[in-house]
Amino acid sequence: MSNVVLLAVLVLGITGALFAVVLYFVAQKFKVIEDPLIDEVAEVLPGANCGGCGKAGCRAMAEAFVKQGNMDGLSCPAGGSAVAEKVAAILGCTPAQAEPQVAVVRCNGSCANATPKSRFDGLQDCAFAHSVFAGESGCAFGCLGLGNCARACQFDALGIDAETGLPRVDEEKCVACGACVKACPRGIIELRSKDVKNRRVFVACRNKENGANARKSCSAACIGCGKCQKVCPFDAVHVENNLAYIDFTKCKMCRKCVAECPTGAIHAVNFPPLPPKPTATPQTAQPVATPTKVEEKPSQPAAESPKE
């Protein structure tokens, strides 16, 4: 009896020792040496894995930081300057941070400006609606308002405004990770420079149709008249395919185009009211020239019944 016990202990003990030796050499052979800095850097990164830096996630970004040894060309938009300083302290380099940006919504097709002419009752997904029809207002370039951008935002910075039906960006929370830009099937959202005073001038329209057709679906559409291009002293505004675009690298925020735009498609955000003109605009940048009201089409055919 004791023989059996002894034998069992011996067999198991010897095989165990054998495996231990094999495993030791295998572990030595295939050892992965990882820089402990990677763990440290990963620790201070936000850990949201938002992909705003262009890497697969925060761990991949930490690896990139450590591999490079400095912060040139790499930045974490979600972390901002606080995280940049921490990373710089670990790496022992000067903190660098890309110019802070913010998401802007380049559509002003609110329920009031672009009155819905039909009602969509299918799957509440912008990508699907985009593949099925032009949109409730008839504008094939405008916001569909079904919230793909809001669902893509991991920072709770985007939400669909119940009143306008358009996405609204919370500038405090937005880290410019670009998730909403990718989620929008119509390319309405763009990342633009935050500027020192957090001011922006941009064309809130993407409609490339000619003026008459654009106005049919939305009263605040860019009609491609080119007045803004003419008035701009800095060559920042260009009209292409019936649509104006303001290049924020050239724009000096003089707001001449805002006053000139006949439809109010150009928005100026976070500016104090213009002092000299009595009709000057408050923050939300209503057009100075009140848009001439286009004649409503009598009994616009309601595809699906008109919305209240």
């Binding site: 039909s118 009752d121 997904d125 699907f128 593949s131 029809f133 032009a134 094939a140 309601a302 019944s305």
Partner: protein, 443 residues
């Protein structure tokens, strides 16, 4: 009675416009002819502003193989060449024509007598179909000259004529068979000869006994045309299901009917083929049903292609009735809601279906209970509930592995779902996304 092997549903038939004789729709004041009325690239306009055109004159030429010629449906002056929003609001190239009189091209035979003999060779038949801009009128608007040019190494064994009309409400094919049975049979005979097959089968569902009787009576005077009554079941009119019902063959995933030796044409197309071959008339008119339970009257019209939906509705019923929920182009199962009634009709349009608010409204969605009704209803043997979950979680690649692209979008899953989940919408989204992935990979 024959039917297809797998899945299918039987929605309420609602064929309320069967007794309405085909009427001619009067010409509108202005015509908008889209250059993109078919599957493939748009035709190139060959007229300019101010040109005078006649009925049947070529105005858009097919310059690539996957394209079809477009002819003027009216006589008059070209107003402009511009874009026009289609029924779903998407801008497409179009020719606007101001209608003046009704002057036809001299080459078109407008007499009412039926011409039975035809001495065109198969190659000439295909060339004529191309010249006359014939496309499949079953809904997919596939250019006919491509369908009837059998690729090298493949052989057609069956010609199947789709007279199933399994969609509820639609009756245009029904009326064509009753009123133009002989013309349809002549068209079928020419197509059969062009393909070199011994026999053509006309599949008709058993809910149209008058059509079956009439077509049998006429087909008896022709050689090699067999009328095949089929059990009533949606989507029997889908190409793959009809092939399965009549021949028992199954088109493998990703293949075309010709890979199993079948060519399928809609009965409306055969009528257009007759007119193109025997009367030299291009595809400028189609038969359209104007129907709806709440409409004061039901109609079947012969409409010049390019008449706007508003013109059709105005002529048929005056105003849209109070409480209209949706106007649908096509049947209630596969048709699409029209969001722009100023848009013109196209070659493939088969009906204007008006639904009231109650009938058109979708029921509120609840949770999937894994009952499997959608799987039982799917005629392609797919698993719609699984696609739904995959698409909601962004797993488009997995959906592709489960053959999401085989979906024919018949809507049986959505129809049968007790939780009212928008299964078909999700599958369409998944198909789009997966196609995008495949295209990106190809690059």
């Amino acid at each position: 009675m024959k039917t297809f092997a797998m899945g299918g549903v039987h929605p309420e038939e609602n064929k309320i416009s069967t007794q309405a004789v085909i009427e001619d729709m009067p010409l509108p004041k202005q015509m908008i002819v889209l250059m993109n009325q078919h599957l493939g690239a748009p035709a190139t306009p060959i007229v300019a502003k101010g040109d005078k055109v006649k009925v049947g004159q070529l105005i858009g030429r097919a310059e690539v193989p996957m394209c079809a010629n477009v002819h003027s449906p009216v006589s008059g002056t070209v107003l402009k060449i511009d874009t026009c929003k289609d029924p779903f609001g998407v801008a497409k190239p179009a020719v606007y024509i101001n209608v003046e009189g009704d002057e036809w091209e001299e080459s078109i035979d407008r007499s009412a007598d039926i011409k039975r003999t035809c001495d065109l060779t198969p190659a000439e038949v295909v060339a004529r179909l191309k010249e006359m801009g014939i496309v499949g009128l079953g809904g997919a608007t596939f250019p006919a000259h491509i369908k009837y040019s059998i690729p090298q190494g493949k052989k057609a064994e069956y010609l199947i004529i789709n007279a199933v009309e399994c969609e509820p409400y639609l009756t245009s094919d029904h009326r064509v068979m009753l009123e133009h049975a002989e013309e349809v049979c002549i068209g079928i005979e020419q197509l059969r000869k062009a393909l070199g097959v011994p026999c053509a089968y006309i599949g008709i569902e058993a809910n149209k006994p008058d059509c079956i009787a009439r077509m049998r009576e006429v087909a008896a005077t022709f050689e090699g045309i067999v009328v095949e009554p089929l059990k009533v079941r949606y989507p029997q009119g889908a190409e793959k299901q009809l092939i399965n019902a009549i021949t028992g063959r199954r088109v493998p995933s990703g293949k075309l009917p010709i890979d199993v030796g079948c060519v399928v044409s809609n009965v409306g197309t055969t009528f257009a083929v007759y007119e193109a071959l025997q009367k030299n008339k291009p595809l400028i008119e189609n038969i359209l049903t104007v129907t709806g339970k709440y409409l004061p009257s039901q109609h079947n019209y012969k409409v010049r292609i390019g008449t706007t939906y508003n013109d059709i509705i105005k002529h048929a019923i005056g105003e849209l009735p109070e409480g209209t929920g949706k106007v649908i182009s096509g049947g209630p199962m596969m048709g699409k809601a029209v969001s722009n009634l100023d848009a013109p009709t196209v070659k493939g349009a088969s009906s204007v279906l008006v639904m009231d608010e109650k009938e058109s409204r979708r029921a509120p969605e609840t949770n999937c209970i894994r009952c499997g009704k959608c799987i039982g209803a799917c005629p392609m043997g797919l698993e719609p509930y699984l696609f739904s979950a995959m698409v909601r979680n962004g797993r488009f690649e997995d959906a592709g592995q489960h053959n999401i692209l085989d979906c024919i979008e018949c809507g049986c899953c959505f129809f049968s779902c007790p939780a009212n989940k928008p299964l078909l919408d999700e599958i369409r989204l998944g198909k789009n996304k997966y196609r995008g992935i495949l295209a990106a990979r190809k690059k």
